[in-house]
Each structure stands twice: as C-alpha cells, then as structure tokens.
C-alpha cells in the first residue's frame, strides 16, 4: 500500500482519526507523517505523532528542554539539501538521514557531541579510501616522530630515508 500523501513511498503508519463520530483512516509513510505531524491532534495517551515515531525508532531524545526550546523558526527551516530531512524532524527522531546531514546541521550538532562524547574531533581510525588528506597528515606526523628518534639515536641513514618519505607525502598534500 502506498502513502496517500505522496503516493511514492510505502505507507508504514496506519491510524484512524475520529472527529465528531466520523472515522477517517490515514495511511502514511514516515516522512509524510512527520510533515503532517503538526495537523494531527494529540493522541489519547498524550502522544503526538512525533513522539510515536520516536518511540517506533526506539529513541530517547537526548535533548533536554534546552534543545527542544531552541527550535526557533530558523531551525524549523533548516533542511539537509541531499536527503531532505529537516532539523526539526531530526530532533524528534534522533537519527540523521544521510552523511550530508552532518554538514547541513553541523553547528547544531556540536553541543550534542560535547554532551555525549565530551569532544568534537575524531582521533581514531582513518579509512584508506575516503580518509584522504587526514590519512596523509597523520602519516607525516608519525614519520616526523620516528625521524626525531632516529636523529637522537644518530641513525642518519634511516633518518634520510624518513625525510624523503615525509617530503614525498607533503608534495602529495600540496598537489
């Protein structure tokens, strides 16, 4: 069954709204349900559709009142250009839609990183294929460290080899 709003995505959320004894059935996909969220009244147990979805996604929003309250008009219109997820949707679901969301919501994610991880910069593994310049920069740092040790040990031949490798990598970075 397709979503009755967009007609493109499969409907994953089915519910019935009863207004003045009149039943209306809804069959929506997750994204349209999020969009319509504003127009759906609170459910009987005080859950809005957003909270219901967050529940489906098994997520306890780590945003305190501060995070929720900060959703000004501005953040409401903040949207990832690649996957279309809005910041408002993200703050309800707690999941990002694609890797470009990190770019799109960059500034707003930083306080979250601080709160959860106490840090905002990666110090772990770097992948070969997509790690790019970072991989090279880290390798240069390591080689420089080794170079220092070689000079201290007066292992000059090895030091010369290391120096050449460092230069080659630096050219690669600049080129």
């Amino acid at each position: 069954m397709l979503c009755q709003e967009c007609g493109k995505r499969p409907a994953t959320l089915h519910y019935t709204k009863i207004v003045n004894g009149e039943k209306t059935e809804f069959h929506l996909c997750e994204v349209c349900a999020q969009e319509k969220g504003e127009q759906i009244p609170m459910m009987e147990n005080g859950f809005s559709i957003h909270q219901l979805l967050s529940g489906l996604l098994n997520f306890d929003a780590p945003y305190g009142e501060g995070g929720q309250a900060k959703q000004s008009v501005q953040s409401g219109s903040l949207r990832c250009p690649t996957c279309g997820l809005t910041y408002t949707q993200f703050s309800k679901i707690g999941r990002l839609g694609c890797s470009d969301c990190y770019q799109a919501f960059g500034e707003r994610l930083i306080p979250l990183f601080r709160r959860v991880h106490g840090s905002t910069s990666h110090r772990g593994k770097v992948p070969e294929r997509t790690g790019g310049r970072l991989k090279i920069r880290r390798e240069i740092e390591q080689l420089k460290e080794q170079l220092k040790q070689c000079v201290a040990r007066e292992a000059f031949e090895e030091a010369a080899r290391l120096r050449d490798r460092i230069r080659a990598l630096q050219r690669k970075l600049e080129g």
């Binding site: 990002l96 991880h117 905002t120 992948p127 070969e128």
Partner: protein, 360 residues
C-alpha cells in the same frame, strides 16, 4: 524431534559454549563497528533500490574476500528468507539485533560458521560488524573486528569526515563508531547489595551498564552488560583499554564479594545454591524468570566449588536455550507461555541429566 545433544551441537554459538579467560565472571566480550557507504542515504531514508544496492555492494566485497578465514564458511542470509521464529533465535543468540529482525527493510546478515562474526546489513547503519567471543577477550574481539573492517574497506568507500570521523545515522555513535561491551555475571555483588554503588561509579567514567534480560533495573540471572558510551575523541584502543581496566576492577570486586560470602555464611550459601540445583533438576514447571535466577545460583555454586559434577558451560547454554525462541525451535512448534514453562523444565532436567551421565 532432534535428540537434545544433536540440537545443542547445531544450536550453540562458540560464545555460548563458555570458556575463555575469566569465564567464571565474564560470559562474553563483544565489539561492534558501525559503518555507512558514502553517497547513499542511511537505511532509515533509503529507497528499496538503494537498500538493495547496499546489500549488493557488501555481498560483492564479501565474495571477493571469501578466502579470509572468517569468511570461508560464512554465508549471507537475507531477513526476508527467515520466519519469525528463526529470527527470534538469532536475536536470543545475540547474533542480530531486534531492530534488524523486526524493523529493517532489506536487512541481511553475514554469519561466520562458528558465529563469532556477524555482519548486519541495513540495520540502523548500512553495515554493523560484530565480533563475539567467549570469556574476557575484548582485545581479541577488537582486533578481529578491526581487521574485518579494513578488509571490507578495500572494496567499499565509507562515509567519513575529518572532524566527525565515521558518520553514523545516530550522532551518539559517530567518530570511531565502535561499541565494545562485556556480559558479566555478578551474583555476589547483587547479594551483598553493592551493585548500585558500583554502577554509579561506572557511569562517571563514560561507560554504560544495563541488565541483559528483563526490564529496567531488574536484571534476570544477575547478568549485566557494561559498554563504552563515548565514541568520539578517543582512539579505538583507548576505548577498549579503558573498558578492559574498568571490567578488571569489577571482576576483582565480584571475586572479593564471593570470598566474603563464603567466609561469613558458608552454610547458607551452600544451602541456597543446592536448593536452586534441586529445583532445576526436579521441577516440572519453570518460568523464564525463575530459570534465570536458579541458573545464576547454580553457576555461582559451580564457580565456588560448592557444586561438583556440572560444568559451567551447561549453565551458559541453558541461559540462552531457555529463552522462548529457542524452546520453540527445539520443540519444532509454536508454544504458548504455559507450554513453554513446562518445556523449559523438561529441557533443563534433560540437559542436567546428560551432564550427569557424562560425568559418571
């Protein structure tokens, strides 16, 4: 119906057979690495064809590396080829997450023959590499997961950012995207009411702790999982080392609590573990809550040398095999909860009897 021994042989993962270093307290060690493929939306927003593309690319990488020892006898299983019961058993064995079993679209898993490696596809992230070892072998689990990650990365381009590290659907996993955890059996700390104090201390060093089975603060069978919460800003090895050292301290505390119990009230302790053993060996109806509680007692009895003639691995097995999915798989049919309680009692009695005959 399969004979129980044959069923056990076919149903046990390596980690459930127990053993491994410090296995009297540490049941298992697990490391999970999350990765996403560059240029495709995360599973939550991926279209059917994009999700299919993810499976295709990962399957290709897996086939290319089929000669790796951990992939040689591994197979890729799509979730839509399994029935609910089969999926449930995989969840009970900790090989896939409930999310992959119930909510994923185009979900799949690559399982190694010994089930030490399971790679979930289209879970919350495109790729979740998990290594699960018996006993306290966190470093070994990390080394293997790290190696598998490198191997797959020869063929796949990962979503990565210089500042944020590996990009994940949930920002709480970003950076190294690793979650390392150990499953601990802590009966003596529970009996001596020391767990709350301990858990508060654990939370202060950036680790999380939760019961494995059961709801909220009540952990069935005194089984707890301790894991890292921080994934960004530390190196993978630092995260692992930190967890290893904290778990080392927990093990020391549990051991000294066990010693104190033995010294202060030996006969009461002996009575307690033997009562539980008697009930397991003879009961005709056994719900899962009671089963976990009794198995925990007996395990403690074995570890302290109070109960002879039963191996601790039997308890490991039974803790998993008395879960609902497993019982139904062994019975070869669906069972309601009343039937399950009867079957559970039978299974435990039979298993302990086999054990007893092997000993004599």
């Amino acid at each position: 119906m399969l004979s129980l021994q044959r069923f056990i042989q076919s149903a046990m993962s390596e980690w459930m057979r127990g053993g491994g270093p410090q296995s009297d307290i540490v049941i298992s060690s697990r490391v999970r690495i999350a990765r996403n493929l560059a240029g495709l939306p995360f599973p939550m927003l991926a279209t059917a064809s994009q999700s299919e593309e993810v499976v295709r690319r990962i399957e290709e990488a897996f086939q290319e590396e089929k000669e790796q020892p951990y992939f040689r006898d591994a197979e890729l299983i799509r979730m839509d080829t399994l029935n609910d019961l089969q999926k449930r058993v995989l969840v009970e064995k900790h090989l896939i997450s409930p999310h992959l079993a119930e909510e994923s679209r185009h979900g799949a898993v690559i399982l190694s023959g010994n089930e030490a490696v399971s790679i979930m596809i289209n879970e919350e992230d495109h790729l979740r590499i998990q290594c699960l070892f018996p006993g306290f072998q966190l470093k070994q689990a990390w080394q293997l997961a790290d190696h598998i990650d490198d191997t797959l990365e020869h063929h796949l381009s990962y979503a990565f950012d210089e500042h944020c590290g590996f990009l994940t659907s949930c920002p709480t996993n970003v950076g190294t995207a690793i979650r390392a955890s150990v499953m601990l059996h802590l009966p003596a700390l529970a009996m001596t009411q020391q767990l709350n104090r301990l858990f508060q201390a654990i939370a202060q060093v950036g680790l999380a702790v939760r019961g494995i089975y059961g709801e909220g603060s009540e952990a069935l069978g005194n089984l707890y999982q301790v894991s890292n919460q921080v994934t960004l800003g530390q190196k993978e090895e630092e995260i692992i080392d930190n967890l290893v050292s904290v778990v080392g301290q927990i093990i020391d505390q549990e051991q000294s609590a066990r010693r104190r119990l033995l010294e202060s009230s030996p006969i009461q302790l002996e009575d307690r573990v033997h009562r539980s053993y008697g009930i397991l060996a003879h009961a005709r109806v056994m719900d899962s809550k009671e089963a976990m509680h009794r198995l925990s007692d007996v395990r403690l009895g074995i570890d302290l040398g109070l109960i002879k003639g039963v191996s601790a691995t039997v308890l490991n097995e039974l803790m998993v095999m008395t879960q609902p999915g497993f019982l139904q798989q062994y019975a070869g049919q669906r069972l309601d909860s009343g039937e399950r309680d009867i079957r559970r009692a039978v299974l435990i009695r039979e298993r302990l009897a086999i054990e007893h005959n092997d000993e004599n």
